[in-house]
């Protein structure tokens, strides 16, 4: 049976832990709000970009051949680059492990293909660094502040791989922020670019081109890859904060339960020792009579 001092010490340490988890939860909540805002702010640009690419591609009215571009070209898939987006830190539930599981599955499903990984986030680098998977690039410390310039650098490297024929396809794997309680593992193709269909009334107006459409498309497509990666990074960052917030919330609640149990136990032990003492005194007194 643990002594009173031991129990008090345990209670103290559980209380400390609870304070830390509570603080972490609060910090994550604040960061989550900012991350969500960043996701919303990035929407107009990517929507506009998709619309424009859709318009340029719809340009061919049947009489002339549709526009082609190297970044749209589908090749026989021999090698694939997979961008894996994970976190910089742990303590966020299954956020990291579910991405790794999905990435491992991706590799297992394509044993005959040459898949190499580009890893974003320290946790991903740690996880795959210990395994014998081919890694073509690692980026750490990119999620604390998701910058467009970072996404641009990474995307440009992937585009270069694609153009050089070192990767016939480029995919990105990340946690999509659905709700605070739900993150969804999402796999998207970056290259070759999958053009989104443009809907709406102005989908097929005949545009004048101030710039040759091929050239315009050549300027827009790399931006599309960059933006898609940027949005994925923002989503992943938001999902990480949400996951950490949920994990820390349940840890705080758990600590509360442990505290309750320990306090109950402490009181029992204390009362038991008092009872024993009284019995000893009383029996001592009776023996004297």
């Amino acid at each position: 049976m643990p002594s009173l001092i031991d129990l008090r010490r345990r209670i103290g340490s559980v209380k400390n832990t609870q304070q830390i988890t509570k603080a972490m939860k609060m910090v994550s909540a604040a960061k989550l709000r900012r991350a969500q805002q960043a996701v919303v702010h990035a929407r107009p640009y990517s929507r506009l970009l998709n619309d424009m690419i859709g318009s340029v591609l719809a340009h061919g009215d049947g009489t002339e051949p549709a526009i082609s571009h190297p970044l749209l070209e589908r090749r026989e898939t021999r090698s694939i680059q997979l961008l894996v987006l994970a976190g910089e830190k742990g303590l966020c539930g299954s956020f990291n492990s579910s991405v790794f599981k999905a990435a491992t599955r991706f590799l297992e499903e394509r044993p005959e293909r040459d898949v190499h990984l580009a890893l974003l986030g320290r946790k991903a680098v740690e996880f795959f660094g210990r395994r014998d998977t081919k890694v073509s690039g690692t980026w750490e410390q990119v999620f604390a502040h998701v910058e467009y310039a970072t996404a641009q650098t990474i995307a440009q490297e992937s585009v270069a791989h694609f153009r050089a024929g070192e990767a016939d396809e480029v995919w990105v794997l990340f946690n999509l922020f659905r709700t605070v309680l739900k993150q969804e593992i999402t796999l998207e193709r970056l290259l070759p670019v999958l053009p989104a269909e443009r809907g709406g009334p102005d989908a097929n107006v005949g545009y004048d081109y101030e710039e040759p459409p091929e050239r315009l498309l050549g300027a827009l497509l790399p931006k599309r890859v960059e933006t898609q990666l940027y949005v994925a990074m923002l989503e992943s960052a938001a999902a990480e904060h949400a996951a950490r917030m949920t994990a820390m919330d349940s840890a705080t609640r758990n600590a509360g339960e442990v505290l309750e149990k320990l306090t109950l136990h402490l009181n029992r032990v204390r009362q038991a020792s008092i009872t024993t003492e009284i019995i000893e005194i009383v029996s001592g007194a009776t023996a004297l009579e």
Partner: protein, 138 residues
């Protein structure tokens, strides 16, 4: 929406810079400046580095510094995708002037070590910022 105005939307990768109604728009394309009035024919083009001017429904001229991107013009809308866009009130004139000097200096030195293309782009960006900020304040 009134017939005689055109909507301008300008977005950079991490946010929307502008979403406003205008009587007229003047924007820098790679091939030169283009004036747009409501009812313009649909057009797609590449945006260069320079100053965008638009006239708001109150008749006040407003300015922005733009850098690189694409534009889609529809009869009732001008939509611009830019790498960079700054409103005149957000431009740090001193910084832009210093950048201009630096770029100018680098180009004049003309040593082989400098990246002429980069310096020229920096020069154009600084000029655009100064132009946007200057016309606004005068």
């Amino acid at each position: 929406m009134p017939e005689n105005t055109i909507r301008i939307e300008i977005a950079v990768p991490d946010r929307q810079v502008l979403d406003a109604e205008a009587l007229s728009v003047q924007l820098p394309l790679t091939t030169g400046y283009l004036g747009v009035l409501p009812g313009h024919a649909p057009m797609l083009g590449a945006v260069g580095t320079g100053e965008l001017t638009y006239c708001d429904p109150g008749g006040v001229e407003r300015h922005l510094a733009l850098d690189g991107g694409a534009v889609e013009i529809l009869p009732d809308r001008v939509r611009i995708l830019a790498s960079r866009a700054e409103r005149d009130e957000d431009i740090d004139l001193d910084r832009a002037r210093k950048a201009l000097e630096r770029a100018d200096h680098r180009l004049q030195l003309g040593s082989l070590e400098i990246d002429v293309d980069r310096a020229q782009k920096a020069l154009a960006r600084a000029r655009a910022r100064i132009a946007a900020a200057h016309t606004a304040s005068s």
